[in-house]
Every structure is written in structure tokens, then in C-alpha cells.
Symmetry: C2
Subunit: 705 residues, 2 copies
């Protein structure tokens, strides 16, 4: 669905669906175990409003009066659960709409996911949604959970399992099975889930639309989503911007990455940008965390749910074991955090608390040793003393097992507003129950703290990147170049560079020539060494036909080069019409970069910047941006390549070189947005040296790629 649809129906229809005052269950059942029975029992045990089971064969379902059909229900019920066989769903949904029901959750499977007749059945349901405006979750889903309002409209957990305790985390999943798996695992991990929605086949509400609804909920502070693809890109970006504005962390787990990678590799060998990379680019630009495993997503949820923020990246480690402290300090540093020595005064104060003689350390990691662990008072003083100081921004205590005196930890946790992540050999339920984050692996705890610090310290993007005003004169000039006569779909290099220069791209200085004398004169004007390149609409691959000469200096070399080049081309490509010979300044290169633009069917224009000229395939890495993007997005993406060394190492990009590369990338993105007829741009190589980065060759493809 589009933003327009969301706006049109307002959120009130969704409010009725997700926070109903009354619920009907069509296909309610007494049979246990069974989906209809589970859904009924789950709703019955948590919901305080009226519940209307519909079942033509029973008088009573699980102690509630049953109704023979939807038509027999009172009017204007808010939510209907539909658990009837697939063939009957359309009729039931139609009846629900007729009865004034606000929204429906279609649990039933057997629709588009099974192909064949299921596709037709789903189309029928979609038509009813479009015609009546009834809002629908599903079909082929396991329902949703909204604990604050007592709505367990699902069969995610058995009705005999305890109700989750609720909380500020919302988890949305396309797949019902995966969602069910994650909900259970989340509960064990100490995640306080208040919301869960499985969107299933998404005949109406997509995962993006659901997230867009839930991000506004005041009872929700953290968004987790698991999806295979993103179809409502605009709505997704809108959700991300809104989450940033509301300071709510948003974490996505994407399934099907390996498959896409494999497909991408088959379909266009050498392509640097699979859809997974474009997905990652959008997430990076809009501040969404991409989780690479289910546990990583839950780990981040656990640290974020407390709502605390970090003022820096410094971690204070408190442990009873030096070795565990070293492993945790290691993990912190590897995750980009710092484990600084505590200030001398703080160390002295801590030392006062320790038994004498003291064989541990108060430096950081603070190793209180087994001696002090045995003195609860001293240990609690350390647990409160370290966060109270100015030396660290976050706290990571190491404990063993489920502590016998959890009160001490819970009290200490309450004395500070700094984020705390416990590391223990097993998840300490006593701390999890108190809403305190805990992890069983030092690396995972460090990763969670690192994500929290990154989120806390970020400059949130709450609006789309500003794009330069579309300049009609520039567009007209660009279109004039694009409409130049050509064979096939590829612009000549000289035209491609001229077009990119309109958008601010740094390109080599160059002139066209049609005769040796013109070339000599042009070379003299350019100064220094020059390159000669044959220009022909028929010859996009110039060097294959001997159409390039490099590093010529002096009139004789230029004249001879011109003649030799023309002779080679005449021999190798006898039929080609030659437009001229480009005389181009030779650009020095300490580094070679490439910069390209492709259009992704879902994500639109994607710009990639890669290192290495001919090495690009070997390196297989690129910074990827989705247009529109800001200069800072390019810098952030480049900073994420190769451990940041492209920007930090001595031979990497100097500041002015980086600015030039950024200008080039922005030019490609802007040209792609303004000129939809361009399907592809390749600038390779970009020659980087001495404070400049110049497009030394460029290819623009027009039309369907």
C-alpha cells in the first residue's frame, strides 16, 4: 500500500484492528490442540472486552456464546479473526465488511503461497479489501499480539504458556513460522515484547505499513522487523525517518540474502550491487540497523529496550576474574569501543573499598577478585561507584550464573542512568525479569553496547536528504547531449563526461580534434602529457581497436600518435564512422577509483563507489548509496569500506580527494534522478592523486538496461 492509502483511511481503521474494543472469531473452536481453538483461548485469556465466537455447529465455544454466522453478530465489531478454510474466507470477509467490522486478521493459509487456485483465492480477497476498505492482516499468518490492550489475536504461543510480560519492543515478521520462533526466543532472551505482528501474504498491510503504524505508538520504544524483501520502499523510509525523529531504534533482519547474492552473481557477473547491498544502503542512510542473525537482532533489542543512551564509547568493566575481563575488554575494542583507565581519583576511591592486601585491579577492567566478590557490601559499592564516576559511559559487569542476591545488582542498576550490559555464563532470569540487559557471550554484549553508543551518538536524519533544485537549463543541456545521434544506447566518452560535468562531476580537461594539427594545438593548450582517444558512436570499447594512445608529449608525439591511432582503428574497425579524436590531459593516479550508477527495480538509482580500477572485481567491495543521498552519506559509506582505511591510511583519500569523489558520486545520483532515461553510468577509472580525483573515462547507457 502507498502512503496515500494510509493517509486516506487514516489510522483509525488500523486502531480498530489493532486496539479493538470487541473481537469476533470466525472459525472459533473447542478443539485443542488446533488453530481455531488456540486463537480463541489466547484471545479469551487476555481480552477484557466482548468476544463473539462464530461457529455454525456449536452453541458455546470455550464457555462463550457462539453465533452461527457473521450476519448474526452485532454490528460494528472492531476486529474479526478469520480461521475458516481458504475457500470460505472471501465470503466471510465480505460478510465482515457488510457487518461494519473494522478489520480482519486472516489466519488461514492456502493462498498465493501455494500457487495455483490459491492465487485466485487471494485475488478475490484483495478485491474485497479494495472495494470495501476493510483492513486486513494476512492471509497465511499467525496473527498479532498487543499486550498492553490485552489482544492475543494469535496462535504464536500455546494458551497454556504464560503470557509474555509485555514491554516497549515491537516485533514484526512477514513469515509466521519465523515470527513464532522469534517470539519464543525473544522471551527467553529477556526481550520485553509488547507487540508482535505477522503480516503473512500481505494482501493489505505490508510489513512497512505495519511498522509505520506501530512507530507512532507511545507504548513502543524499539522496532524489530524480519522480512524477505521490501516492497513499500517509500513507506519504509518514512517509517525510518519517523523512528529517528521519535528516537526509537529500528532493527531489521533480512532473510534470503544468500539467495539474492547467488542470483545476482548468476545474472550479472561483475555487478557490485546486489539487492542486498541496496537494502543495506537504504538502511544505513536512514539509520536502520541491519542484523545479520536472529540473535543479533534480539541482542540489540535487549540493550535498547531499557531506553538508556550513552554519552560516549567508553566502557567500564567490572569482574571478579581477570581473564574474563581481558576477553570482554578485547571484545569491546574489536567492536569499536574504548576501555580506558579510570581517573586516578576514582581508582583510589575504589581501592579504599577493597579488602587488603588487594591482588586485583581498579584500573579498568576493575577486577575485584574472588576476595571482594565474597564481600557483598564491597562489591555493591564497586557496582555503584564505577558508573557514578566520569571515566566511563557504559558499564559491563561480569557475573557467574543466576546471582543468588539479584537485589544487589538491581539496586546498583537503578543508581545510574548509564547503559548496563551484564555478561554471565547463563542468562540470569532474575536480572532479565527486572528489565536489565544480560548476555552470555562477551562479544555479543560488546556488540550490543557498540550499537547503543552508535545510536546515541548519531546525528539522526529525520527528513529526506535535500536534493539540489532541478535546474531546467541544466536538464535541457543534458537532454541535448542525450539526444545527440548515436548508434545503439551508449554515449561517446566525450559526451558522457560533458553531461556529468553539468552535474558538477570533476572530469579531465579535454578537447575534440579532427585532424593532426588540431590535436597538436589542443595538446599545447592543455599542456603536459596528453592522451588521444578515438571517438565513435560505434566504438564504446576504444582500446580494443587500438583507439587509445597515452602519455604523449610534444608536437611530434601527438602528431605521430594521431596518425598511428587512426591507422590502427581503420585496420581493426574498418566500417566505423569516426567523429574525431579526443585530446585529454593525462591525470596522474596514486589510486584508481570507479563510480557507477544502476537502477534497482525496488530501490531505484543506486550509486556505487569502488576502489582499485581493474582490481574492483578482485576486491568485490563498494560503497553503495541510494539516490537521493547527501555528501555525508557518501563519506559514511566510504568509511565503512575496508575497515575505514580508504579514508584513514596514508595512501588513502586525502580530504580534497575525498571531496572530489563525493562530488562525483552526488553528480551521478542527481543525474539519475533528473534524467530517468539514463539506465546506467560507469566512470572508470577515476584517477586520484595530488588532491584531485578526475573522471578519466565515462560511459552512459540510455534506455532500458
Amino acid at each position: 500500500m502507498s502512503i496515500a492509502t494510509l493517509v486516506k483511511t487514516g489510522t483509525s481503521a488500523l486502531d480498530r484492528l489493532f486496539t479493538p474494543k470487541s473481537i469476533a472469531i470466525v472459525g472459533a473452536s473447542n478443539r485443542m490442540p488446533g488453530i481455531g481453538g488456540y486463537v480463541t483461548a489466547n484471545i479469551a485469556r487476555a481480552f477484557s472486552g466482548p468476544i463473539y465466537p462464530v461457529n455454525p455447529r456449536e452453541q458455546e465455544i470455550q464457555g462463550l456464546k457462539a453465533y452461527p454466522s457473521v450476519a448474526d453478530l452485532p454490528r460494528d465489531i472492531d476486529l474479526a479473526m478469520i480461521v475458516v478454510p481458504a475457500e470460505g474466507v472471501a465470503a466471510v470477509l465480505e460478510a465482515c465488511a457488510a457487518q461494519g467490522i473494522g478489520g480482519a486478521v486472516i489466519i488461514t493459509s492456502g493462498f498465493a503461497e501455494v500457487g495455483g487456485p490459491g492465487v485466485a483465492l487471494q485475488a478475490e480477497v484483495a478485491a474485497i479489501v479494495a472495494r470495501t476498505g476493510i483492513r486486513v492482516v494476512g492471509p497465511n499468518c499467525i496473527g498479532f499480539m498487543n499486550l498492553a490492550d490485552g489482544v492475543m489475536a494469535n496462535f504464536v504461543i500455546d494458551p497454556t504458556d504464560p503470557l509474555p510480560r509485555g514491554g516497549p519492543v515491537a516485533l514484526i515478521s512477514q513469515s509466521g513460522g519465523l515470527g513464532g520462533y522469534m517470539v519464543r526466543k525473544a522471551i527467553y532472551a529477556g526481550l520485553n515484547l509488547g507487540w508482535f505482528v505477522s503480516t503473512g501474504n500481505e494482501v493489505d498491510l505490508s510489513i512497512a505499513a505495519t511498522l509505520r503504524y506501530i512507530v507512532e505508538r507511545e507504548d513502543t520504544r524499539v522496532l524489530l522487523g524480519a522480512c524477505e524483501g521490501l516492497h513499500d520502499l517509500e513507506l519504509f523510509i518514512d517509517t525510518a525517518l519517523r523512528a529517528a525523529e521519535l528516537d526509537k531504534p529500528f532493527i531489521l533482519l533480512k532473510a534470503g540474502r544468500s539467495e539474492e547474492a547467488a542470483l545476482a552473481a548468476q545474472a550479472h557477473t561483475g555487478s557490485l550491487v546486489g539487492s542486498a547491498e541496496a537494502f543495506d544502503a537504504v538502511c544505513r542512510q536512514y539509520g536502520v540497523f541491519v542484523a545479520h542473525s536472529l540473535e543479533e537482532m534480539l541482542d540489540l533489542g535487549v540493550i535498547f529496550q531499557g531506553g538508556r543512551r550513552a554519552h560516549g564509547r567508553r566502557v567500564g568493566i567490572i569482574t571478579g576474574s581477570g581473564g574474563a575481563g581481558v576477553i570482554l575488554a578485547d571484545a569491546c575494542v574489536l567492536e569499536g569501543l574504548a576501555v580506558p583507565l579510570l581517573p586516578a581519583a576514582e581508582q583510589a576511591a575504589l581501592l579504599e573499598l577493597m579488602p587488603k592486601p588487594f591482588m586485583g585491579s581498579v584500573a579498568n577492567p576493575v577486577d575485584v577478585t574472588a576476595q571482594a566478590l565474597a564481600k557483598p557490601g564491597a562489591f555493591e559499592a564497586v557496582l555503584t561507584g564505577v558508573p557514578a564516576g566520569d571515566g566511563v559511559d557504559m558499564i559491563a559487569p561480569v557475573i557467574i550464573g543466576n546471582p543468588t542476591h539479584p537485589e544487589m545488582y538491581i539496586r546498583a542498576h537503578a543508581t545510574t542512568q548509564k547503559p548496563v550490559a551484564f555478561v554471565s555464563t547463563l542468562l540470569p532470569t532474575s536480572l532479565l525479569d527486572a528489565g536489565i540487559a544480560a548476555y552470555t557471550d562477551p562479544r555479543r554484549a560488546a556488540h550490543a553496547l557498540s550499537a547503543l553508543a552508535a545510536f546515541s551518538l548519531r546525528k539522526p536524519r529525520t527528513t529526506r536528504p535535500a536534493t539540489p533544485r532541478a535546474d531546467p537549463a541544466r536538464i535541457a543541456a543534458a537532454r541535448a547531449i542525450l539526444q545527440a545521434p548515436r548508434d545503439g544506447e551508449t554515449l561517446m566518452e566525450v559526451d558522457a563526461k560533458a553531461l556529468l560535468a553539468l552535474y558538477g562531476a570533476p572530469v579531465t580537461r579535454e578537447e575534440m580534434s579532427r585532424a593532426p594539427d588540431e590535436a597538436v594545438a589542443a595538446a599545447a593548450r592543455l599542456g603536459g602529457k596528453v592522451a588521444l582517444k578515438v571517438m565513435s558512436y560505434a566504438l564504446p570499447h576504444k582500446s580494443d581497436v587500438g583507439g587509445v594512445r597515452l602519455g604523449l608529449s610534444g608536437d611530434d608525439e601527438v602528431r605521430e600518435g594521431f596518425a598511428g591511432l587512426m591507422a590502427d582503428v581503420a585496420r581493426n574497425a574498418p566500417g566505423a564512422r569516426i567523429e574525431g579524436v579526443l585530446v585529454q590531459e593525462m591525470a596522474p593516479a596514486r589510486l584508481e577509483i570507479l563510480c557507477g550508477m544502476k537502477r534497482d527495480p525496488v530501490f531505484g538509482p543506486i550509486v556505487a563507489v569502488g576502489l582499485g580500477g581493474v582490481l574492483v572485481e578482485v576486491l568485490g567491495q563498494a560503497a553503495v548509496m541510494q539516490a537521493p543521498f547527501a555528501p555525508d552519506d557518501v563519506k559514511a559509506a566510504l568509511g565503512g569500506l575496508l575497515g575505514g582505511r580508504l579514508l584513514t591510511s596514508k595512501r588513502g583519500l586525502a580530504p580534497e580527494e575525498l571531496e572530489a569523489v563525493v562530488r562525483l558520486a552526488v553528480a551521478l545520483g542527481q543525474a539519475a534522478l533528473e534524467l530517468p532515461e539514463i539506465s546506467e553510468i560507469d566512470v572508470n577509472p577515476v584517477r586520484v592523486a595530488d588532491g584531485s580525483a578526475l573522471a578519466a573515462d565515462a560511459l552512459i547507457v540510455v534506455g532500458a538496461s
Copy 2:
């Protein structure tokens, strides 16, 4: 300690220490909680032989007759636990040796780890070990555990905690605290630990020596080690070779990586090889898994402890949820495994078992859907049917929680010899108790299966790489070059290349010249374009003084180049004595590589191969080998760079180019082994194109680096 020491005392002394028939506890205590009390109680609850508490103030300790001093004990007790204050340890150890006690575990801390007087106390202990030959674990350790022989000589767990169930896994840790953390976490993770040793300050037994002892034990099938450094390199390699020979997986977790990385970065900026990389290289060469987190080490232990091996990399996934199957299939592919469609006949057979109409999939992932999950018979038939076929090598079933009917899974597990890793929302203790591997995260399960497949399919190295016979004539020729007169420590390029060529390195063809005519003649003999390079012992950085000319062809260019070069050098380095001008063939380059050798204080000669010529700093990656190494080690290390793309991508190394790079790396390693006076070699660039890889420049540094 050295192998010689181990061999001298034989293993019988260690047998007495680690599998004692009688145990004394010096410092035994009734006080609980307390270290002396815990050690006594832990020994008493598991050991069936005689136990002799020593305590001068008590008649009886925990119900056992106490002895006033070591001198009062019967002679020839096998093991003494020492839990007395640090100041008294030396006297007790001396008394133990005098009493014929085989070995001692010194639990007491306050030795070298606290510095100052502790260092002297430890030296005293070391002197007693050296003089008497008594074997010692510790000091500053938490003891050891050998469950098969009922030896709980430790305070790792409380005496009131249940005894671990034992099993084929041995865990050795330098740090006691970390060891204690890991033992507890290992037990929760379902690891069947039979052995644990904390080596502490290692006054006698190092972690390598302990592993070398334990690898021979028939009751041990998997070795896990956690260490900060490796000091007994020879013994460590010997252990790894022996583990490979005995088909026992060996997994190491190294603490202090971040610190080393930081130190390395400070100490020698631009160095590609920190000690952590050298450590990784040794582990790769000798088949040792390097774990990057505590959980990763335990995860691998859990899959290896069953002893099963995989015949290929194909995983069969069985799930009741399509979404969970996709996430797991994804994880498998990302970990280098395959999830192939099952053979048609197998699919048909599985389909027969499914309820009708069937809405899942029998292709792989086999998604039985909730329908079939509800029919235990059908589900068990799938659990046994998938591994029984030929389509997959390993099995990964997804389940939810701790199953209510574990017998079904345990029976199915027993019908196959293929490795099985369950994925569940929480660790299913019923399966762990039955020795079945389970993980809560799909990615971790896939990683464990991938490691198991790699181990199963490897060609184990059971002896050191064969090194070419040291050729006295070659050494003499190399020494002649090394002894050529030079200023400072750096060889001239021409000499460095000549030396490397003796060891089989592929180098550019070249000739020295002393006058323009000689250079012209040499260029004519070499053919094609040539480079000229000034040769002077005083000018290792030739291009800085204008001492290089590239791409000259024809007599005139060579003659003019020679003159211009000499003029530039005379101007820029007026005092330098010039030995001549090297005339070198121009080597084409599609790729530039560098290859270097440095000596590591622990690991000896380390050879690194990196990509990119000037890009090497930006890429920050290199293939690292510890000499001696075999050609296959170079290929394996290069295959591990950049996702393998250096060997597989179209512009990467062609087979003959790879062979040439391997010859070069092997030459550097061999030269370093035979010529210890060489401290450093840098070959940069190695120019790669058209099936060859040629050293185009080389630097050899002699003497202390």
C-alpha cells in the same frame, strides 16, 4: 618447557599428577565457603582413592583424618594440592618433593601476577621444580578436573553443584577466572567436558605442554584451549600435528588480540603482520581452528564432541516453518555450505508421508508445516528419511523449545551416522543430555556444521612441511652476495634479486651497465621496453633522487635515459657512489602484488603476500605464512583473502600466475630459514600479467631489524 623436557621426564610423572591413585591436600579446610574447603570437598565427593588432608590445627577435615604436615604423610602420594599462603608454598613444595609426591597443583595466588615480592616467590618455586623434577600446575590457578578418574582437584564449581557429566572434551585455560566462566557456560551449552585444566602462572606446565599431554589421552576427542599468548611454539605445533594424526579437532580462543593489534599499530605503522596474524597463520597451517568468541569455541566443541564426520557440505534442513527454514538455509549458504534440492525419488517418498492436501515443501528445506508436526509418526519418518537418503551430508532440524517427546528425536538421531545440529528457540536440555548438538541461532548452527565439514574434508597435516634440503652451494652463493660491500644494512636491488633468484624466485631479467653504450647493448639483448635504475649502496630509495627511468625503447631513448638519470642523481645525491645502472626488462602488470618477510620474536620468519602495490596499506590485508610452509599453505592463505576472489575472479591470479607467486613466497621463506642474518625482505611490486608474476623490485635488510 621444551619437548626435550617432556620426553626426559616421560609422561609417567604427568600421569601421576593428572590420574593420581592418592591425593594430599595441603591447606585442606573445613571452612565454607573458602578455597581450601571447596577443594577438599570437590576431591572428596568424586575421588575413590585415599585422600590425605594436611592441616596442623585440625584432627579431621570434612570427615577425613588430617595430618599435621607433609612430612607426616605416607610416602609416594601421587598428587598434592597446595592451598597455603604464598609465603609458605615453596617450603611445602620442597617437602612434597622430599616425600616422593609425583606432582603438585599450586592453587595459591600472589606470585608473579602481583609483581614485586611475588616474582621472587615464583622464582623460588621454579628453582624447586628444576632441582627436584616434581611436576607443577600453577601457581595462581583454579586446579584441574579429570572426571573419568574422579579427580575434581579444583574449586571451579561449588561442591554443592552437581558434578558435570563428563565426556570427550578437554578445555585448557591459562586464566583461572576465564576458565571457571567457560566451564560453567560449557555445561549449560551441553558440552560434555571430561577434562579441564587451568595452567595459571605456568611455572612448569604451560598450556602447550598440558595440551600435548592431553591430546594423547584416549578419553579425549576434542581439545579446546584459551590463552593469551603462545610461548612453547614447538610444543604447540607438535600438539597440533598429533591432534591431526589422531583426528581430534583442536580449537583455540586467543585473548588479548585487540591489545596486540593496538600495540602493533603503534609500534610499526604500516606493518601488515601483527602477532595475532602470525598466530592465525600457524593455526591455519597446522589445522587448528581459531575461535573469535567464547561462544564460537563452545559451539564448535558441541558439534565435534559427537565424533561424527561429514562426507560433503550439503545440509538437509527439516522444519515446521518455512520462514525459519529460509533463515537457516541463508545461514548455511553464507557459511559456505550447500542446501541442495533433494533427489526427486526422495522427495516423492517424503511426500507420501505427508498429510493431504500438503502445503509445505519436500524439496529442502523440508517444510513439513504445522499439519505434519502434529502427526508425530509422520514427523519422525521425515527425521529418519532425510538423513537416510543420498541427497545431503548433514542434518539441521528446526524445533521450538524443549520438545515434549524427545525420544522421537533421540531415536531419529541414532538411525544415522550423519552429523546433526538442532536449532531451537532455547537449548533443549533433553537433547543435550542425550549428547545431541543444539543451537539457539541458525547462524551459529550453520557455522558449527561448516567447521565440521571443513574438518571432515580436510587433508590433515601430520608432519611439518618438507623444506628443500639446505644446499651448501646455494647458501655459499647467497652469503657471497650478502657479504658484498654495502653502506648500512640494505642490499642493492640487483643483489637482492640475484639472491632471491638463487631460491627460485621469479625475477625480472636485467643486466648491470656502467656506461650508455653498455646500457644500449643490454637493452638490445633484453628486447622490448626497458627500465633503467641507478644502483648505489647509498641510495635504497632510487626514485626519490630521480634514479629511475621507465618504459624506454630503442637505442636513443636508452642512451638519453641513461644520461638524464645520471644527471638527476648527480644533482640530487651529489655524494653518492654509483655502482652502475641496472637495465631491466619492463614487466607488464594487470595486478601488482607485494611479498615480504619479517621475523617475529615468537613465531620466527613470517612471510606475507598482499595485493595492490601502493594499495596495500589501504587494503590492510595480507596472506600470512609461518616458515617453513608448503606451496599449498600459500594457496590456502591467498584463498582466504578477499573472500577468495584473488584466486577466483576473472581479473584475479591465473593458475600460472598463482604458481609464480607461490614460488616467490616459498623462496622468501626458505631464504629466511637458511640465512638467519637476513632480518627483512620486501619485494614490491611483483608485477603480474599474462601468466607470469615477476619481482620488479626487491629490498633485503641484513642484521638486527
